[in-house]
């Protein structure tokens, strides 16, 4: 299908080196109706090139906040985020986000959505952009749907388009905020396989936020456990299983149980303290 690529499309589709992320002493406080909440309390974390890191924790533990700070969508009160040694001060297309709710634009069709980020990249002709977009649509298995309207897609297909849209500008980091939380189990399982494959094929550094322990164990090289009030990294688990991983495998269940036990060990007490 892509035999007739022009030079710049080939260039555009080449792998970019994945980023190394350094989160250093990041703190963030939110003012709410009931007072101040310390969402993140001096969180430090290293993510290696092309590493798949999962952030797990109960809701309100600041994991999404941390993701937004890495994306540059929010600013930390103190501390900093470095991507390849450079401080992150604003959003940038080297770090693309896939949100929980599909943030697809309903006024554009599927292809238009995937093209959105590409159109902001200079030095490409529109034909190149379309070819690049089609490459990613093929990667997520939606070639046939490029003309479809967003509302015509199922939840799983929407998230596939979101994934293609996030991949299309060829970022160095992919930030995923509970992207599969709203999907049914069957669709999710399919996507676990796909995301592992795509991660391997496109070599991205991925930070993946979830509250699903099994999902984290299935996808992550490392799983970081967050505790709420204040948001801190409580524990770290390296998942040492061959890929691609099957979410239903026994070994994986072992990891998940271990992580779940740790999660339970601090959650109720923390929750009680917070009340």
């Amino acid at each position: 299908m892509f035999r007739h690529r022009t030079g710049s499309v080939v260039e555009e589709l080449q792998l970019v080196p994945p980023s190394k992320l350094a989160i250093e002493n990041v703190s963030k406080t939110f003012r709410t109706a009931t007072g101040e909440v310390l969402a993140l309390d001096r969180v430090s974390l290293q993510v290696n090139e092309a590493e798949f890191v999962c952030l797990v924790g109960p809701s309100g533990c600041g994991k999404t906040t941390l993701l937004n700070i890495i994306a540059g969508l929010e600013k930390p009160d103190s501390g900093m985020v470095l991507a390849d040694g450079k401080p992150v001060t604003s959003p940038g297309r080297d770090r693309l986000v896939m949100f929980q709710e599909p943030a697809l634009f309903p006024w554009l069709n599927v292809l238009g959505n995937v093209l959105f980020g590409l159109k902001l990249k200079p030095n490409l002709t529109n034909k190149d952009r379309r070819n690049v977009a089609r490459y990613y649509l093929e990667l997520v298995g939606l070639t046939r749907f490029e003309r479809a309207n967003i509302h015509e897609l199922s939840g799983g297909m929407k998230q596939r388009v979101s994934l293609a849209r996030a991949l299309a500008p060829n970022p160095r980091v992919l930030l995923m905020d509970e992207p599969f939380a709203a999907l049914d189990a069957l669709t999710r399982e399919q996507l676990y396989g796909d995301i592992q494959q795509i991660w391997k094929a496109r070599r991205k550094t991925i930070v993946f936020v979830t509250h699903n322990v099994r999902e984290a164990a299935c996808l992550g090289d490392r799983v970081l456990l967050f505790s709420p009030h204040p948001g801190r990294i409580q524990e770290e688990f390296a998942v040492d299983l061959p890929r691609p991983r099957d979410i239903n495998s026994v070994d994986l269940a072992g990891y998940a149980t271990k992580i779940m036990r740790a999660l339970k060990s601090f959650s109720p007490e923390r929750a009680a303290a917070a009340v």
Partner: protein, 255 residues
């Protein structure tokens, strides 16, 4: 086809009832002319050019005022949504003036501009402007913040976000505001044309007015029919395609 037939038979029945009421002499024929009389007035008015001329005059007043109102209203609406200061000032003003029936602009327009085209234009602009400003502002404020965030991460900035994200995202609101503005402008222009004679051109409203002066009921009813038909056509030609597109894209209706 079936839908067309049922609609057509509905109107045929309506005209038959009218004809029956005429023949039964429920009202004096001066007050209720027959469908044929109205049709023959229309035929004559079309043939001698009166109707075409009046329609062109009215529509050119309407369209120029309407598009002026949109061209000014859209950016003002965007700016109003963007800056709190403008929202508190211009936004409140627009909200207040929108509640003012647009006919109420006619006396002021006449005193300011005299019996001129400018007065007509002013009335139409006032009918359009406030609705468009308010609808645009509401539309912008209803854009889910996640669209903006998603666009930001993809490298979209300020003006690009406004043009490529916030504006298209608020289109459903903007279009309904434009539709409302159209309705207001159309009504106020008719009122203005009926009230005052502008020597530079006799519009449909003036034809209606002279119909009354001459007690020519066939003319009154014929012009009313023309006004209704124009309203319908504008809806079908100007708004329907846009609304259909929006419904298809957003998936808001099966139609």
């Amino acid at each position: 086809m079936r839908r067309f037939l049922s609609a057509a038979s509905f109107f045929v029945v309506l005209i038959l009832i009218w004809q029956w009421a005429f023949q039964a002499k429920i009202w004096s024929p001066v007050l209720l002319p027959s469908p044929m009389q109205v049709a023959s007035y229309l035929k004559n008015a079309i043939e001698d050019g009166t109707l075409g001329h009046a329609t062109v005059i009215t529509m050119s007043r309407l369209l120029s005022g309407y598009f002026f109102g949109i061209i000014v209203g859209l950016p003002l609406g965007l700016l109003t949504a963007r800056w709190t200061l403008l929202r508190d000032t211009l936004g409140t003003t627009a909200l207040g003036l929108q509640t003012l029936p647009s006919v109420c602009w006619v006396p002021l327009a006449l005193l300011w501009f005299g019996q001129t085209e400018a007065a007509m234009l002013f009335v139409v602009v006032m009918g359009t402007l406030w609705s468009v400003i308010i609808a645009t502002e509401t539309g912008v404020r209803n854009v889910p913040p996640i669209y903006r965030r998603a666009a930001l991460t993809m490298g979209s900035k300020r003006l690009h976000i406004w043009l490529k994200v916030i504006f298209p995202a608020s289109l459903p609101f903007i279009i309904s505001g434009m539709k409302q503005g159209w309705a207001f402008a159309w009504r106020s222009l008719m009122a203005a044309e009926i009230f005052v004679t502008i020597l530079t051109g006799f519009g449909l409203g003036q034809l209606l007015h002279y119909g009354r002066e001459l007690s020519a009921m066939d003319q009154v009813i014929a012009i009313m029919v023309v006004i209704v038909v124009i309203g319908l056509l504008v809806d079908k030609i100007l708004f329907s395609p846009i609304e259909k597109f929006l419904h298809r894209r957003w998936g808001t209706s099966q139609a």
